[in-house]
């Protein structure tokens, strides 16, 4: 207990005054400046309860449990995120820190905040839409990726309609926002292997329909990143059936063959790693085989001259030699 000054506020009191301040901020009347100050002040108090300061320890588990309970009951997590744009710079960072700490809370095998957010998915959707606002996009990104670590929350986001907005977010003109959105997008698809595979299988047409746009994007970074992720997804054992489906579609093969001839060497190289799967497939469907046969000589010649300066990369050279041999040995299947 401090000798002078007010004794520490209880979790209930801090949450109550923070809620009042956020409500005032939301109304946006004349006292907005004062409200913003109050919000920041109370956020610091909550943050110190969770993390401690240079001279105080974090609060005991009981106080943290009370705080979490108050946050759930007051619906404050959602309100903070909805009003994030109105909170000052430091306050935005504090919201993310408080949110992530409360999210990670665990009692035995249970994660109470994860369970709470499952009942209030609006929190996730609001966070995802945060990518539409430049001044809060990155704060929302850190919270979203923390959420994506939990399978239950990742599942809600993947199966929501809002997920498809990511195909726009990853292409926005602000580079740091686009790449932040891309890493969240990738995390959602790759973090939980079985969940990701089931999602891609169940929504194959819709997802890859949208994905095509990324591969054809005007933006070089988007094209390169999405091509690299496509390679990773297809070569992941968990996505076996997605891969077999992808490599039976001749349009996909045509796209990869075009990307092999892109100006950028990096894109050529990434495209090679997807293209090789089409060729290595021992059960090539007729349309795929036809395209390869039609271009047999050209492909052999092209591949022989393809990235010859990578002499150090043994694996690449082995794969290239294998592909060339495979293409040379291709024979048309006689029609019966």
């Amino acid at each position: 207990m401090p000798l002078f000054g007010k004794s520490q506020k209880s979790p209930a009191e801090v949450v109550k005054s923070l809620k009042e301040a956020v409500t005032a901020l939301e109304r946006g009347d004349k006292k907005a400046e004062k409200a913003q100050e109050d919000v920041s002040k109370n956020l610091v108090l909550i943050k110190n309860m969770l993390y401690g300061t240079s001279d105080t320890e974090p609060q005991t588990d009981i106080v943290v449990a009370q705080l979490a309970q108050e946050l759930y009951n007051s619906n404050l997590l959602l309100m903070l995120i909805q009003n994030l744009a109105r909170i000052d710079f430091e306050g935005k960072k504090d919201v993310a820190q408080v949110f992530n700490n409360i999210l990670r809370r665990q009692i035995g095998t249970r994660s109470p905040t994860v369970e709470y957010i499952c009942t209030k998915p609006e929190i996730l959707f609001t966070l995802m839409r945060g990518y539409e606002h430049q001044d809060i996009a990155l704060n929302c990104g850190t919270m979203l990726r923390e959420c994506a670590r939990y399978e239950a929350l990742a599942k809600i986001m993947l199966y929501s309609d809002d997920f498809y907005n990511f195909f726009n977010y990853v292409e926005v003109s602000t580079f740091d926002i686009a790449s932040d959105a891309f890493s969240t997008f990738k995390e959602l698809l790759t973090r939980h292997k079985i969940l990701g595979a089931e999602f891609l299988e169940a929504n194959y047409d819709k997802v890859f329909g949208h994905y095509q746009r990324l591969l054809n994007s005007e933006n070089y970074v988007t094209r390169r990143q999405s091509l690299k992720l496509l390679g990773e997804l297809l070569l992941d054992r968990h996505n076996f059936s997605v891969m077999t489906r992808y490599i039976s579609n001749p349009d996909n093969l045509k796209l990869m063959m075009n990307m092999l001839r892109e100006k950028s060497r990096n894109i050529q190289f990434e495209a090679f790693h997807v293209f090789k799967v089409f060729v290595a497939n021992p059960n090539k469907p007729k349309p795929i085989l036809d395209i390869l046969l039609r271009n047999q000589d050209k492909l052999v010649e092209f591949l022989t001259r393809f990235h010859t300066d990578r002499s150090e990369d043994e694996q690449f050279n082995d794969e290239k030699a294998y592909l060339i041999r495979q293409i040379q040995e291709l024979r048309a299947v006689p029609d019966h």
Partner: protein
């Protein structure tokens, strides 16, 4: 040559006093492999040695596995296994899988150098360093979860490790577990719908019943699940689920597939172990089931102190004296040859000095030391 003379000379013994024997100073001279300054031996295997090293350009600690061609030739599949390991490792990138930094060759000496991430010890040496050969449950949990993360990555890349055991799980300074030794690993074909493997070359005590019973085709991924199960059992109990006086007895025991669960294990752990060590590979847990198991999901309280990596408390770098030699050259005061008498004198002098220092309560330690292996990692 005169035979008599030779016979006579055999009978002549020249007496030499021990203090007249001239020794040559042990060369502590610096040795470089590429841009690495080489330190002391970290471990030794049938293929050669592993030595500590320091990357001169990045000042990073590394381990260099030195493989001698003639030794490799004596091991069945030796060269092929190394080749496969190099090919596999160079395509992998995950925090829980050992990374191969680079490979160098010395054709004159017929040696191959694999530069790897530096690790303090293996899980096996950690277990061996304590009397009851087991870890506190929270520590076992911490390592097992990392093993599962690394294993999920390997399986997603279609790699079956086939030799998971505490001896192949290395620990870094910050407590990260690294799966290592891909000598007998196998890659499942990109288009194989099943993950079937044909032969098991791993360590007998960690092999599953299907291999012990000599089944021709078995699921590779489930072999690794079993290996991780035996490792977890070993970490938590200090024992092995199956034992035998020789490989035949051992395989007999494993083949029967029944083992006694120690009664002092709590229910969730016993349940996880019986899922991992299920004799029927089809009913054995898959990684997804392991991930969601309540023993994995729950947070364990750290009541017992964790076992620390064996060896010198500060894990100081053995490259230092060599580095000194590299930059300051050999000490000109030091003679290259000296006799037993000189050694005795030097020893006596050193002892006197030490006594003096102890009296002054002035114990010097090395001025440069690496970070202590932290025992307070957040679980």
């Amino acid at each position: 040559m005169d035979e008599n003379w030779e016979e006579d000379s055999l009978l002549v013994f020249n007496r030499v006093d021990s203090d007249q024997v001239i020794y040559q100073r042990e060369p502590k001279g610096v040795k470089m492999i590429g841009r690495y300054v080489v330190g002391e031996v970290l471990g030794e295997g049938s293929y050669g040695k592993v030595k500590e090293a320091l990357d001169q350009e990045t000042l990073t600690r590394r381990a260099i596995k030195i493989l001698k061609r003639n030794k490799l030739k004596r091991i069945p599949n030796g060269e092929a296994n190394v080749q496969r390991e190099i090919k596999l490792l160079s395509s992998l990138k995950h925090p829980n899988v050992i990374s191969l930094i680079e490979v160098m060759k010395n054709d004159v000496k017929d040696k191959l150098y694999m530069v790897l991430e530096f690790c303090l010890s293996s899980l096996q040496s950690l277990l061996d360093s304590v009397p009851d050969k087991k870890l506190p449950l929270s520590q076992a949990h911490y390592y097992f979860c990392q093993l599962i993360d690394g294993l999920e990555y390997l399986h997603s890349r279609r790699i079956v490790h086939k030799d998971l055991k505490p001896g192949n799980l290395l620990l870094t300074m910050d407590g990260t577990l690294k799966i290592s030794d891909f000598g007998v690993a196998e890659v499942v074909g990109l288009f194989d719908p099943e993950d079937s493997c044909q032969d098991g070359q791993g360590t007998p005590a960690f092999q599953p019943p299907e291999i012990a019973n000599g089944v021709n085709n078995f699921s590779g991924f489930k072999v690794d699940i079993w290996g991780s199960g035996v490792s977890l059992f070993n970490m938590c109990t200090g024992q092995y689920p199956f034992e035998g006086d020789n490989v035949y007895r051992l395989y007999e025991a494993i083949g029967r597939g029944t083992f006694t669960m120690p009664s002092n294990l709590d229910q969730p752990l016993a349940d996880l172990l019986s899922g991992l060590l299920c004799a029927d590979p089809n009913k054995r847990f898959n990684l997804n089931q392991v991930r969601h198991h309540q023993w994995i999901v729950r947070k364990l309280s750290r009541c017992e102190p964790w076992v620390e990596c064996p060896g010198d408390q500060v894990h100081s770098m053995s490259v230092l004296p060599y580095l000194h030699d590299l930059h300051y050259g050999p000490d000109p005061e030091q003679q290259d040859f000296y006799t037993q008498r000189q050694i005795n004198e030097a020893k006596q002098l050193a002892e006197e000095n030490r006594d003096k220092e102890l009296r002054n309560n002035n114990t010097k330690t090395s001025c440069i030391s690496s970070k202590k292996f932290s025992s307070c990692i957040q679980s």
